[in-house]
């Protein structure tokens, strides 16, 4: 399949993607479809409203807050305040794995809690029902923390979930109750919910436990949700390297770990979009710097581990990291050698999430596959273009509605982990703290970058490029597959994984090899249809 393929000129492609839209829509969408051309300014329109009626991949604010950020922590009991659906849909559908240390430890992840709001509550207010629900949850489960998530009607009818939370915290004493005003209509995608979740965790959880934990090198891993067991693989690597992982936001995490998470020396940031707020606020308040990492791809994983070791500057640690990387890279290299003959030269497209569309290009690179188009579902411009453009991002009405916490250095606990000189020295060695350069610099020339791609645009792209694998989510999966193109879900990993770290890379190689080489795709055309297609004139003679 490494035969050179012919495609229309990029400008024609773009025209094709837009031509059916009403003029206003076309104009708007045009700014979100960018050719990654080194000669052009790399500005992409992102984090703006989806046009009503356009079939989008996006979800809502609640999904970002409860579904993404809060959901994975096993011992925070999440009550969704609203009609039953919102809680129901976020029940175990994200595959955030969690593994209590003991059989007695709390784990509410397999549970779904809702106030199951009825018409009466919409009419007369739902605070009483919410209060009752919290009391019952406390009585049955005795959790240390309860989070309340507001869904659409809650904000509109004026229920004050924060007041209820305060009252219940006071009443229950040994249970921290806090609320999130993450109504679905806020912002333009899940992104608003991430921000709201970051704020809430920082206000109500972070900093509540100032214990200094044991361990020479203490870190947090931010923006890693342990889908398919990714965090487990990374925990394994940190442990082997001698790194103490205090908390993960929020894969396989506990409330206690999050409370203590400001006591580390470094934050590693995986999903920049969903969690950079915590990284920034923790730096401002406590002086903990953050380092963007990518544990997707064997090389990226090694690189990220080495950067982390460099940050700590400890020779023993560096040696240990080196040892681990070498051992693990030997395995990934062997696995790659087995898979690559089947994957080399094939084409991929990725339209998913707020960081995965970037990270997973590393794995495709390792497989010798080209990513010819990619884009995010709920990212901001900096996720494409890099953080340097943040000052240039226009704040629109939808973003303005999301609270921006005012953080000041903590009077007691603020302590910069590195001096300005050290930071410069690290930068010289390629370890840039607080920096993210976005997806576009890492993409090949003349590839397409498309934000919030629509169903229609995906279809056209596929018709034109016939990629060998398409990465997106479950809503897209069977649509794309009906076109004969295998789709890899990069939210749920198609119920496989882990894909992070070294073992994850091996899993991914195998899965992609399977997907692009399976003979079942050849079964699609019935032989009598093939015959018709190949020699239509024969069909007639076929009929006796």
């Amino acid at each position: 399949m490494s035969v050179a393929r012919q495609y229309p000129a990029p400008s024609e492609v773009k025209e094709e993607l837009l031509k059916k839209y009403p003029t206003k829509v076309a104009k708007k969408r045009s700014k979100s479809i960018v050719l990654n051309d080194p000669d052009q300014p790399k500005e992409i329109q992102a984090n703006i409203r989806t046009v009503p009626g356009i079939i989008t991949q996006r979800g809502c604010c609640y999904a970002g807050c409860k579904g993404v950020v809060l959901g994975p922590t096993r011992d925070i009991l999440n009550i969704v305040h609203g009609p039953i659906g919102c809680s129901y849909y976020a029940w175990l559908t994200r595959r955030n794995q969690t593994k209590p240390e003991t059989a007695e430890e709390a784990n509410y992840v397999p549970y779904c809690f809702s106030t199951d709001m009825q018409e009466d509550h919409v009419v007369f207010g739902g605070e009483k029902k919410l209060t009752k629900a919290i009391e019952e949850a406390y009585e049955i489960f005795k959790p240390k923390a309860i989070a309340i998530h507001s869904t659409c009607p809650v904000g509109l009818i004026g229920d004050d979930v924060h007041a209820v939370a305060r009252a219940m915290t006071a009443k229950l004493e040994d249970c921290n109750v806090f609320g999130f005003s993450c109504e679905g209509y806020k912002g333009v995608s899940q992104s608003a919910g991430h921000h709201i979740a970051n704020n809430g965790l920082f206000k109500h959880v972070v900093g509540k436990d100032n214990t200094v934990r044991e361990g020479k090198f203490r870190i947090n891993l931010l923006g890693e949700y342990n889908i398919g067991g990714d965090s487990f693989e990374l925990e394994r690597l940190f442990e082997e390297c001698g790194i103490t992982l205090v908390s993960t936001y929020s894969g396989n995490s506990t409330y206690l770990d999050l409370m203590n998470s400001h006591m580390v020396d470094l934050n590693l940031v995986m999903c920049h979009r969903s969690i950079n707020y915590i990284g920034e606020m923790m730096e401002t308040k406590y002086g903990v710097p953050w380092l963007k990492v990518n544990f997707i791809g064997a090389e990226s994983t090694a690189k990220s581990l080495r950067k982390m070791a460099e940050y700590f500057g400890d020779e023993e640690l560096k040696a240990k990291v080196e040892e681990v990387c070498e051992r693990e890279l030997a395995k990934t290299t062997a696995a790659l050698a087995a898979s690559k003959p089947k994957t080399e030269g094939k084409l991929a497209m990725l339209f998913v999430g707020g960081s995965r569309a970037h990270h997973y290009q590393e794995l495709f690179k390792e497989l010798g596959m080209k990513t010819i188009a990619a884009g995010y579902e709920f990212a901001h411009r900096d996720d494409y273009e890099g953080r340097e453009i943040i000052p240039n991002i226009k704040i629109d009405a939808d973003s303005k509605n999301i609270e921006e916490l005012k953080i000041k250095p903590d009077e007691e606990l603020y302590k910069p982990r590195k001096t300005a000189e050290e930071i410069e020295a690290l930068k010289a060695k390629g370890v840039e703290l607080g920096e993210y350069k976005g997806m576009m610099p890492d993409m090949a020339e003349h590839t397409f970058v498309i934000d919030d791609i629509s169903q229609y645009e995906s279809e056209k792209l596929i018709e034109i490029y016939k990629p060998d694998v398409f990465c997106a989510g479950v809503k897209e999966k069977y649509v794309i597959q009906k076109m004969g193109i295998p789709l890899k879900q990069l939210h749920s990993y198609d119920y496989g994984g882990p894909y992070a770290g070294f073992e994850g890379a091996i899993n991914f190689y195998k899965d992609i090899e399977r997907m692009v080489s399976s003979r079942i795709w050849k079964l699609i055309d019935a032989p009598w249809e093939k015959a018709k297609k190949e020699q239509p004139e024969l069909t007639a003679t076929y009929v006796a």
Binding site: Y21, R58, W91, S114, E135, Y185, S189, Y456
Partner: protein
């Protein structure tokens, strides 16, 4: 233990629902609308609703599930969603070119009081609905009823907003399809054909949510009930609705508006419900039930008399939607099985009543509850207090089944961890045989698993 916090002690709850046995209206409306040919369902609310519903239906069917959304933002939520919907209608007809847009509301748009009827009229007035195209709408507030209610409301909307009376009867029997799988609907159509009855099934998800892999994506697949067909509903001789809670409203709507008399039946799961359907259909069509159908029935009975010993007297816990669990419970009772615990999240007094009637003779002390707090947490607690031999319900039950080590059959909605339900029916005599085959399968597998070596049987 996955659900380690679930203990046997049942505490009365009023505020908290835990592990629900239902979801909310819009997904039902979306599903029902997919049974219209050339239809793009539209969710008038936040983006998340649409994304969640599409995802869940996709997981269940492993098929494309297309729908659009009004993509409410905070502004729309405060000032009303009319502009969003008008814009959406225009965009959808331009870009996706459906025959029909079927709009359903959400808790959001209902709370702010958007009037779909008025907005749709406005869209028509403004020329946003092309000639020969349609926008129908159903009010489906999430805080009323359940997903089942949403289905029912959209089916009623189809009947109300499409059916016409020409004044001349067309000899057709409307079959209002309750919430079933495409496989079930295909089976209903096959059985009707065997009887020689001229029926129109609506909605109709066959060839919509069980489409072939062709290498080509059809946004509007072959199947679904067409607009002319829906118009003809008003001229039918009569309607038979299959499912009190998901289909009856459609039949009532046709009776009210077009004087089409109806008979309200259960979804034909199990022998008695299928018997009633066959007799009603035969009567309506003025035909005799053909021998081949009687023989199908006889094959089911044969399987039952052959295998009786394996299911007789077994205790069962059931959860799900009323139109599924009512005939299922009736079927199990007719097999001398003992449904001892039943929950449904869907509210409605008649549901518990009907179940209690079915259980009265053989399982008078069964635990039965529906509505708020009739959830899987409660069901699990009941099971801890009185263990069962078999658990039947949607995929969520697998956590209980694993913790309590109970043979488990997936049945109802959603089934997101196995396939087959959309291809092989549970309705009719053949569908009932499939249910029995599954029951026998898990019970006999369990016997095989638990037998000591010396009791392991070759022949069973």
């Amino acid at each position: 233990m996955l659900l380690r916090h679930t203990t046997a002690e049942v505490k009365e709850r009023e505020g908290l629902t835990i592990n629900p046995a239902k979801t909310c209206q819009p997904i039902g409306a979306l599903y029902a609308a997919l049974g219209i040919h050339g239809c793009l369902p539209h969710s008038h609310g936040s983006q998340g609703c649409c994304a969640y519903h599409r995802s869940m239906l996709t997981r269940h069917f492993k098929e494309p599930v297309m729908a659009a959304t009004s993509s409410f933002t905070e502004g729309a939520s405060v000032f009303g969603g009319q502009a969003n919907l008008l814009q959406a209608i225009n965009n959808i007809f331009t870009i996706y070119e459906p025959d029909v847009i079927a709009v359903h509301s959400t808790c959001l748009s209902e709370t702010i009081g958007d009037d779909l009827q008025q907005i749709v009229t406005k869209a028509k007035d403004e020329g946003k609905v092309p000639e020969g195209k349609f926008v129908i709408h159903a009010s489906t507030p999430s805080f009323v009823g359940s997903h089942v209610t949403g289905y029912s409301n959209m089916v009623a909307a189809m009947a109300t907003q499409f059916a016409e009376s020409t004044g001349e009867k067309n000899g057709q029997i409307n079959i209002v399809a309750g919430w079933m799988e495409p496989s079930d609907m295909r089976e209903i159509k096959r059985l009707s054909k065997e009887l020689g009855a001229k029926i129109l099934l609506f909605p109709d998800m066959t060839d919509v949510l069980d489409t072939p892999q062709t290498g080509k994506f059809d946004m509007y697949p072959k199947g679904g009930v067409t607009v002319p067909q829906m118009k003809s509903l008003g001229d039918a001789e009569c309607s038979i609705s299959l499912g009190t809670y998901t289909a009856e409203a459609g039949a009532i709507a046709l009776d009210k508006k077009h004087k089409v008399p109806f008979e309200s039946l259960d979804i034909p799961i199990g022998i008695d419900a299928t018997d009633r359907f066959m007799m009603a259909l035969a009567k309506a069509a003025g035909v005799e039930i053909p021998e081949e159908v009687t023989r199908e029935r006889g094959r089911l009975v044969d399987m039952l008399t052959d295998m009786q010993q394996y299911f007789h007297g077994k205790k069962v816990a059931i959860y799900g939607d009323p139109d599924h669990i009512i005939p299922l419970t009736e079927f199990l009772v007719s097999l001398d099985m003992k449904p001892v615990h039943i929950v449904s999240g869907t509210p409605g007094k008649r549901i518990e009543q009907r179940l209690r009637e079915i259980l009265a003779e053989t399982v008078p002390n069964a635990n039965v509850k529906n509505g708020p707090q009739a959830d899987l947490f409660l069901l699990h607690q009941w099971i801890k207090n009185e263990p069962v031999d078999l658990l039947i319900g949607n995929s969520h039950g697998k956590f209980i089944a694993r913790d309590e080590d109970i043979p488990f059959i997936r049945f109802g909605f959603p089934i997101v961890d196995r396939v087959g339900h959309s291809y092989f029916p549970n309705v009719g005599y053949t569908g009932s045989m499939r249910i029995v085959e599954k029951i026998l399968g898990v019970l006999m597998d369990r016997q095989d698993r638990d037998a000591p070596d010396e009791k392991f049987e070759l022949v069973m």
